[in-house]
């Protein structure tokens, strides 16, 4: 379904439903790049939403790698499964449930994406740190100021180095009757770091 080596599947190729968020193409490729993935790795996608990050990560880690996608919302889990089928991905396990409980049961990870924390940011990041291999990467995408504040507060107290924080604002062009304008999207902040 996606024949290219590079990440960046266009948003419109994913199945969508109204109340489940998707990480937009350009933000998604930056998140995937910050995880520094390799073949054969084990990856978590915590708060997988539509499954777009899981699918891109699954392509990068390949058939010898494994992705675990967790969401507490049954609609997200169902949508992720639909997208996995659409993209013919077989190295992703989709898990419905509370992240704190489900992450505990997973094998240790090379990279962890956090896209949603349901307010339990500090606890989830602490747990993820304990599940990451040495040299493993954590990549957290935040929309909410409160989540960003919680991440900044906790991440420096844990065993992470090279903490990198960027804010991305993407505008997409739109044709009007008289010319080309840009429509801004909301800024997204991405925090990434390496487990010491």
């Amino acid at each position: 379904m996606w024949q290219h080596k590079t990440p960046g599947i266009p948003d419109e190729l994913f199945e969508r439903v109204d109340d489940v968020p998707i990480t937009k193409e350009e933000v998604r490729v930056i998140q995937i790049s910050k995880a520094r993935l390799s073949s054969g790795q084990t990856v978590y996608d915590v708060g997988c939403g539509s499954g777009s990050i899981s699918i891109e990560a699954a392509h990068q880690v390949g058939s010898t790698g494994k992705v675990f996608s967790i969401d507490i919302d049954p609609n997200a889990v169902e949508l992720t499964k639909k997208n996995l089928e659409k993209f013919q991905i077989s190295n992703v396990s989709v898990i419905l449930g509370n992240a704190m409980q489900k992450i505990s049961e997973l094998p240790i990870a090379d990279a962890i994406f956090i896209g949603g924390t349901g307010g339990e940011t500090a606890e989830i990041i602490k747990l993820c740190e304990s599940k990451l291999k040495q040299g493993g990467r954590i990549v957290i995408g935040t929309i909410l100021v409160e989540t960003l504040y919680s991440v900044l507060n906790i991440i420096e107290k844990l065993s992470f180095s090279s903490v990198d924080i960027i804010q991305i604002t993407i505008s997409k062009s739109r044709k009007t009757s008289t010319g080309t304008m840009f429509l801004a999207r909301n800024p997204v902040t991405i925090i990434s770091a390496t487990k010491i």
Copy 2:
């Protein structure tokens, strides 16, 4: 040197000189993703600067692929060569000279990055269109309003479909004595399209 499958080599790993621009990590991964690269492809990097796009593209197309990097500035050509050596890349040819003349001599391409046009935007895009395979991708990064205007003017007159125009603004965090702030970088506009 870069062992990961994902693009997004940190900027600080590249050799740099003062007057040769580098496409910053986050903008670079978006450009690479918009090119939709696969193993074995032939790629041009027109206005290669420090060579960062060439190096990421070389990783994606692999040893069966080929990248041609062109710049009119001898300092850029020298710096690109230095970076190719640093990253132990052998599938890139670096070419010093005028893009219009040098592109004419190259084999047809699957993807073309344009990072600089020296004011000859329309002519270079026209020539690149003629050198792209059907289904091939063009990805143009612009900083200047004048270049963006020229690209918009010419691209719709040529055999391109799925023209996508995005503007990206990245801010990087900086620690101050009292907290964490964001420092904005200049916006970059990326135009990408598929050769019909």
